[in-house]
């Protein structure tokens, strides 16, 4: 073992460190921010519509407590604190590139009904070599309509009815309520829905329920 090492070892290590430091001085920036984008692959993905997740599917995943995805709320903090889907993490578009989303997980993005922001975010992540990025189809509005406050049109067939019965259970899980048979047959408008509050347990915590601690 290194007992009574000659001082020269220390000097050699110091010299090596200084040389590497000087090289670093000239290298400048080792961060590779300029991502390469494979346009063909991307267009393929868009074509196969492999980039969308329906609200019902997402609800099932959350209930089944699947841990293989990260849910990202792209809206601003105020909107996020008012309401967000259980487990969601609040990351705005401009912070997305610097965020620490794992490449090992599916990433599901959502915003209001505005698919535009989600699409921008989707493209940014894809460009950064994230492979499993999805957009919540229809955004938060469709989530509210289909999952939180499902309704049944008066002319629904048996298949739709069965689906509605199932959604009745699902919506309870998320703190919503089934609106029952909708006589106007137009589907409830988003504005007419009961006021939403942040889901229990979500509270003021801007973080998801899953442990995100990695540091010491």
């Amino acid at each position: 073992m290194a007992i009574n090492l000659p001082k020269t070892i220390n000097s050699k290590l110091a010299a090596l460190a200084v040389v590497l430091g000087v090289i670093a001085l000239f290298v400048g920036n080792p961060m590779k921010n300029n991502a390469k984008v494979n346009l063909y692959e991307i267009s393929q993905k868009i074509e196969e519509s492999k980039s969308k997740v329906s609200p019902e599917t997402l609800a099932e995943w959350i209930i089944a407590q699947k841990a293989d995805f990260a849910l990202v709320d792209l809206r601003d903090e105020k909107q996020f604190n008012e309401y967000h889907i259980t487990q969601a993490e609040n990351i705005q578009l401009q912070k997305l590139i610097k965020s620490n989303l794992p490449k090992t997980q599916k990433i599901i993005l959502y915003s209001d009904n505005d698919g535009f922001v989600s699409a921008q975010a989707w493209f940014l992540l894809i460009s950064k070599n994230y492979n499993n990025v999805y957009v919540l189809d229809g955004g938060l509005d469709k989530w509210k309509k289909n999952v939180l406050f499902p309704s049944l049109s008066a002319t629904a067939n048996s298949e739709e009815k069965a689906k509605f019965e199932k959604m009745k259970e699902v919506c309870k899980f998320f703190g919503g309520m089934a609106l029952g048979v909708d006589s106007t047959n137009s589907g409830a408008s988003v504005a007419g829905m009961p006021k939403l509050t942040a889901p229990a347990g979500g509270g003021a915590a801007p973080k998801s329920g899953k442990p995100k601690k990695e540091g010491c």
């Binding site: 200084v18 670093a24 290298v27 400048g28 920036n29 961060m31």
Partner: protein
């Protein structure tokens, strides 16, 4: 392309085995450096033995240079390495408290584990103290969460904050460390334990 885990080359179960092996390496070199001894650690703060500074900063510049060049050669996506967000004021207060705890208790959390492992008795009390300290923090957290989360600056590095190139900072840190090493050798010669002091 690294980090391997973040690119999904292996799963959670395998990561636990890696954690265990990494820990063995960590504990091994800490002990070899003398970090299992509270006396040696505390001696840092009386200018008797600056091993803490030397080991710590050698480790920091080694890892720093390693990451820098892996990134520069395109072998590593540095942005995917996890670092904690900065909360300036709470971290300053936390750092001061931790320094106080260090000199009063004689260890930091990692070194107390090492010291326990080589049969020392005082770090057992220290580790129990850490548990109590964390428990107290957890219990008062609802009341101090405002302060604990104040001055958030997000994920930010020194080059980004001062808007200076990463390479220049790396160079300066290396220079500072080497200067510090030369300084500590001098300090030890002047104030340190002389041969025959029994330390």
């Amino acid at each position: 392309m690294s980090p391997f885990y973040k690119f999904g080359y292996f799963g959670d179960e395998a990561s636990f085995i890696i954690a265990f092996i990494t820990g063995i390496g960590f504990g091994f070199f800490l002990e070899k450096g003398g970090f299992g001894s509270g006396n040696k650690l505390a001696a840092q703060f009386y200018f008797k033995d600056l091993t803490v500074f030397k080991v710590m900063f050698t480790a920091i510049i080694t890892a720093m240079l390693g990451i820098f060049f892996l990134g520069a050669f395109g072998l590593m996506d540095i942005s995917m390495v996890y670092t904690t967000d900065t909360f300036m004021i709470p971290q300053i207060v936390g750092g001061l408290l931790l320094g106080l705890g260090f000199v009063v208790g004689g260890y930091c959390p990692g070194t107390s584990i090492v010291s326990c492992s080589i049969g020392r008795i005082d770090p057992i009390f220290y580790v129990i103290g850490i548990f109590v300290g964390i428990f107290i923090y957890g219990e008062v957290y609802p009341f101090i969460s405002g302060f604990a989360n104040s001055t958030p600056m997000g994920r930010i590095t020194i080059p980004e904050y001062f808007n200076i190139s990463y390479g220049i900072i790396v160079f300066l840190v290396v220079l500072m460390a080497i200067g510090g090493f030369i300084g500590s050798e001098w300090v030890e010669k002047k104030y340190g334990y002389k041969k025959g002091d029994g330390k």
